[in-house]
Symmetry: C2
Subunit: 165 residues, 2 copies
């Protein structure tokens, strides 16, 4: 019972029950729903929305910190910020103590977009959660944490075993 059968044919793999696949489909569905919404209402894409949300929360940050907080690649942040500057939603202020970086803030127009977008985004998120039973809601938090953490560990582990072992 503990060891899995190594014969390929005897181990059914059903894509529709395969967790990584299901997580992808779910995330994609949710993302696309929200992306269509952001786009149709404010003409911004997801990376831009993440920057706006981060600056809405922290008011003043460097691009590096935005990337760390929203887990976005630095080039993604750079391009999202550039696009938001063009739309006059974000402004840049030099950091006199370190001229490599700038402080970024929402403009008043940016704050307005944030204030309008936030209630709907939260409503969407809450509606998702509300479709779960109280018990499931309670599990959700831990499930997300655990799976994210575990997948990091497994990736390294599997690669090492197969490549070196």
């Amino acid at each position: 019972m503990n060891r899995q059968d190594q014969k390929g044919g005897s181990v059914p793999l059903e894509l529709e029950n395969f967790l990584p696949y299901r997580l992808n489909v779910l995330a994609e569905t949710v993302s696309q729903s929200l992306a269509r919404f952001y786009e149709s209402r404010f003409g911004i894409a997801i990376p831009e929305w993440r920057v706006v949300a981060t600056l809405g929360q922290y008011a003043r940050m460097t691009a590096k910190d935005i990337g760390a907080h929203s887990r976005m690649h630095k080039t993604k942040v750079s391009r999202a910020v550039a696009s938001l500057e063009n739309k006059n939603l974000v402004k840049r202020q030099p950091n006199i103590e370190d001229m490599r970086e700038s402080f970024l803030e929402l403009t008043s127009k940016g704050k307005k977009v944030y204030a309008e977008l936030t209630p709907d985004a939260l409503a969407f998120s809450r509606a998702l959660v509300a479709s779960l039973s109280p018990e499931e809601q309670k599990s959700l938090e831990r499930i997300l944490e655990r799976l994210t953490e575990t997948s990091f560990q497994l990736a390294d582990q599997m690669l090492q075993e197969k490549e070196k072992g």
Copy 2:
């Protein structure tokens, strides 16, 4: 308590607790872990793996059916199949009754890749689930189903309200 406060500033939105964001980070983490694994072991990408998995399960399908089953855009399927043909993992057989489509199957080499890949993929999936408590595992299935279903509904709902209402 039931109605959310509509004033933007008074509704905190923390990206790190925002469900759509967290689902994305999780799916991305899991995907990248697996993608690195598929790639390093067999030189195939995720869309290709999905095609292989689907054909491993159903043996003989058209491109359209593969797309429906794996929820992939038809162009994605088309390109994944083309790539798998080049690698001699998939072969194409004309459907004499409808020459627009072809039946696709794994070659013997493709079956071998499937047989080798499946145990590890399942082990990865099982290890993810095993990091959860029995109770959380029990919730997981329903949570995924519910959230996927609900996000479909919400998308339409929100767009209709905002665009037309």
